[in-house]
Amino acid sequence: MIRLEPRNDVSPAMAYLAPALAVLVTAVAGAAIFAALGKDPVEAMRLFFIQPLGDWFSISEMIVKATPLILIAIGLSFGFRAGVWNIGAEGQFTLGALAGGATGLAFYDVAGLWVLPLMCIAGALAGMAWAAIPALLRTRFNANEILVTLMLSYVAVLLLSVLVHGPLKDPDGFNFPESRLFHDSAILPILLEGTRAHVGFLASLAAVAVAWFVLGRHIFGFQVKVMGQAPRAARFGGFIENKVIWSCLLLSGGLAGLAGVFEAAGPVGQLVPAIPVGYGFTAIIVAFLGRLQPIGILIAGFVMALTYIGGETAQIEMNLPSAITGVFQGMFLFSLLGIDVFARYRLKRIRSAAQAAEGAS
């Protein structure tokens, strides 16, 4: 018989190895799925994981996808460490896009360097406001934030839809549910000429750096870590749970909102009902795959972006369904969570008492 035994110290080697192993396990399981679908697994894997790394345009597209994923996941990671489960980043992202986009449209055709910053502030504030609802309900009414944030993300998507069908609709748009295209002052500058990679990526990098410092060296990061690992010890240490809940939700809501503005003012360039495409949910996986560590999230953001690009390539070239990306992402998280156990436990063979008694007599 084999059983798990806790390790005295978490194995640091395993902690770094686990995400890599998770990628490997996912690739193997993915190959099996492709084989089951009657596709050549080796070719599919090549299209999925290798092809996108081969040309600059694909890499720039990875940056486009990684930007919101990293930004949102950095925000979520603080809450996840503290045991505050904001899983409705999709809603905060949507509200950010909506408020930022509406701000841009309000100043339509007004030139000025201040337009974009104003949009960003509006978007971040809207994301924070949307996240303030679960914060208030959790701290004042003890309502589970998992369910509230999630319900609110459905509401947010409907809200975006109703507004682009109505007040924000392009007056010259043949009644399509779309806003006007943003004017130049409301469009994010492009990072690399000829691609869609925009300066929002720099904001994501900055968020990674700041988060790295805060988690390692700032009392807020310390607070968040203690609160998640040992809530009673945090109270003993004089940290106030409600403050941490508020900070974590506002932080993640703000960053998700900012990611929303970037998406609207970046690759999309207008408000459409389909702006929320699931980055808010995928970012949850990014946060875990990155071990809730800022640098890890940076890497994980690119790995997840790869599954989007690779998924698209595989769809086009092998006629695979788009759902394949979701399957891959779910498997990623499963295998990571499963492999994680070996960082905390080790395998040991044991003998039963009956066997032991036989051995002794």
């Binding site: 035994e5 005295n8 110290d9 978490v10 060296r217 700032h218 009392i219 807020f220 310390f222 870590k225 203690v226 690992q229 040992a230 009673r232 010890a233 945090a234 109270r235 003993f236 240490g237 004089g238 106030i240 040991k348 003998r351 039963s352 008492a353 009956a354 032991a356 008694a357 051995g359 002794a360 007599s361």
Partner: protein, 505 residues
């Protein structure tokens, strides 16, 4: 000669890094009350868990009434007539007494008239119980009765009692032994695990002493002295801590009419508690677990806020301040639970100093942590309190109970508090570490601090505290000098009759 009721031959059990039981052999005769004696960590609990089938031995043979006995799970043990009362009760708070009893019996033995049986058995042994009550609403003593009745309903041949008296008042202890003697007279054997020497000397027929997982001796406890038993158990000669001086200074901690509602459905409400502790004084607070000790420490540490004037430090009200502000005023605390309350288990020792010593030791400047300051302070605690660890980077979880406790108490004492409130500082700690902790507490008081010591260990309180009070049902008795109080008085107070005791004195 009849076979012994239970016989163990060369039983061995190892965990990673430690051999919990090493070639343990002894036997229990039918109708015998047999003590298994040893310090915390001597391997008693592991041994009885194997006898009850919760764990399996790595090697060795057990026999029950002469037949090989190798239970794979507790239901095997129960089927063979072995019952057990756990130290940490295996009860379900949300369920009723009747349901709890049913769960502890093998399905075949549970009849339709179970509740009638419970009433009948509990009356026969003087353990009154209402089968319909929810366990969460019972006192600790009543909960133990549930455990015992559960065993008795299965007519056990061998009853294992793991540290049964550590949670009882002296009167309840008396009642318990009455019940056990009745059982023994009916031919049941009892394996009685304890580290309390006096009750073993008074009640047990034979004793086996464990130390470091090995049997180090056996004796007739009624003929041994408490001191000789203790030395066998500890393996060295004991030096009792000397009482500190009784010249107290000014009042440092004043608590006035402190009341606190509980936020736990099974918690205890603090009611109108008033006392004061002077410089140099160590106020010991005794009481059965779950009588408001946790709530009192939460109120003192600032984890739960109370009315501002209810708690005063050097005549300055601090009742509505949080833990950080209270520490800044010189009021430190150390809670009962080490892992998860006094320390974060998966954080390093130096991170754990940031938890409670960050302001007094200047570890935070403008929100930024000074890692150097934290590591230096952790190093200071480790060396001053002889904490056995390979360094300040180790996680708190990796330390043994005694070492972590020394670290936590050291962390608070080295901040040189004006007032220190601690709970159960030596629970589960080996004798050497306990002595070191007691010495540190006494030195702190001698240097002019006021100390409040909450403990369930009467021996500890009698040895260390200068002043003594009892908490029962959320009320505190009037503190009095420790050397003037008698065990009978303590018993009455712990039973929850503070006024009766006052009237008697």
């Amino acid at each position: 000669m009849t076979a012994p009721r239970l016989e163990l031959a060369d039983v061995t059990k190892a965990f990673p890094g430690v051999i919990a039981n090493d070639d343990v052999s002894f036997s229990v005769a039918p109708g015998e009350m047999h003590a298994l004696l040893g310090e915390n960590g001597a391997g008693k609990s592991t041994l009885v868990k194997m006898i009850y089938g919760v764990m399996r031995a790595d090697a060795g043979v057990m026999r029950l009434d002469g037949e090989v006995y190798a239970p794979n799970r507790p239901s095997d043990a129960r089927a063979r007539g072995v019952g057990m009362v756990f130290q940490h009760f295996s009860l379900f708070e949300a369920l009723t007494v009747g349901e709890n009893v049913a769960l502890g019996m093998n399905a075949a033995d549970v009849g339709r008239d179970l509740n009638d049986q419970i009433v009948r058995v509990s009356d026969a042994y003087g353990l009154s119980l209402d089968p319909a009550r929810t366990v969460g609403s019972l006192s600790v003593g009543e909960r133990q009765r549930v455990e015992i009745v559960r065993c008795l309903l299965q007519n056990p041949r061998l009853l294992i009692m793991d540290e049964p008296t550590s949670v009882l008042t002296p009167q309840e202890v008396g009642d318990l032994f009455q019940t056990l003697r009745t059982l023994v007279s009916e031919g049941c054997s009892i394996l009685y695990i304890s580290h309390k020497l006096e009750e073993i000397r008074a009640n047990c027929d034979r004793a086996t002493v464990l130390r470091g997982g090995k049997v180090v001796g056996a004796c007739d406890p009624s003929e041994a002295t408490a001191r000789s038993l203790a030395e066998m158990m500890v393996g060295m000669e004991l030096a009792l801590p000397a009482k500190s001086a009784t010249n107290f200074g000014a009042e440092r901690l004043t608590v006035k009419n402190l009341s606190l509602a509980t936020d736990d459905p099974f918690g205890v409400e603090l009611q109108d508690i008033s006392f004061s502790v002077r410089a140099g004084e160590i106020l010991g607070i005794a009481g059965v677990a779950g009588n408001g000790q946790g709530e009192l420490l939460d109120a003192l540490s600032g984890e739960r806020k109370v009315s501002h004037a209810a708690i005063q430090l050097d005549q300055t009200p601090i009742g509505s301040l949080g833990p950080t502000a209270r520490r800044a005023e010189g009021f430190c605390a150390a809670p009962e639970e080490r892992l998860g309350h006094g320390a974060a288990p998966d954080m390093s020792l130096w991170e754990n100093t940031v938890l409670s010593a960050r302001s007094s030791q200047g570890m935070v400047r403008g929100g930024v942590l000074d890692l150097g300051a934290a590591k230096a302070f952790a190093g200071k605690v480790i060396s001053a309190f002889d904490v056995r660890t390979s360094g300040a980077d180790r996680h708190a979880r990796t330390l043994s109970g005694g070492n972590l406790q020394k670290f936590i108490i050291g962390r608070e004492i080295l901040q040189q508090p004006k007032v220190l409130a601690i709970s159960q500082p030596t629970w589960g700690v080996d004798a050497a570490a306990a002595a070191a902790i007691h010495r540190a507490i006494q030195e702190l008081a001698a240097a002019g601090a006021a100390v409040l010591l909450i403990s369930q260990d009467l021996d500890e309180l009698m040895a260390v505290s200068t002043t003594f009070a009892v908490i029962a049902g959320g009320r505190l008795s009037t503190p009095q000098p420790t050397d003037s109080i008698t065990v009978e008085e303590i018993g009455v107070l712990m039973g929850g009759a503070p006024d009766a005791a006052k009237a008697a004195s």
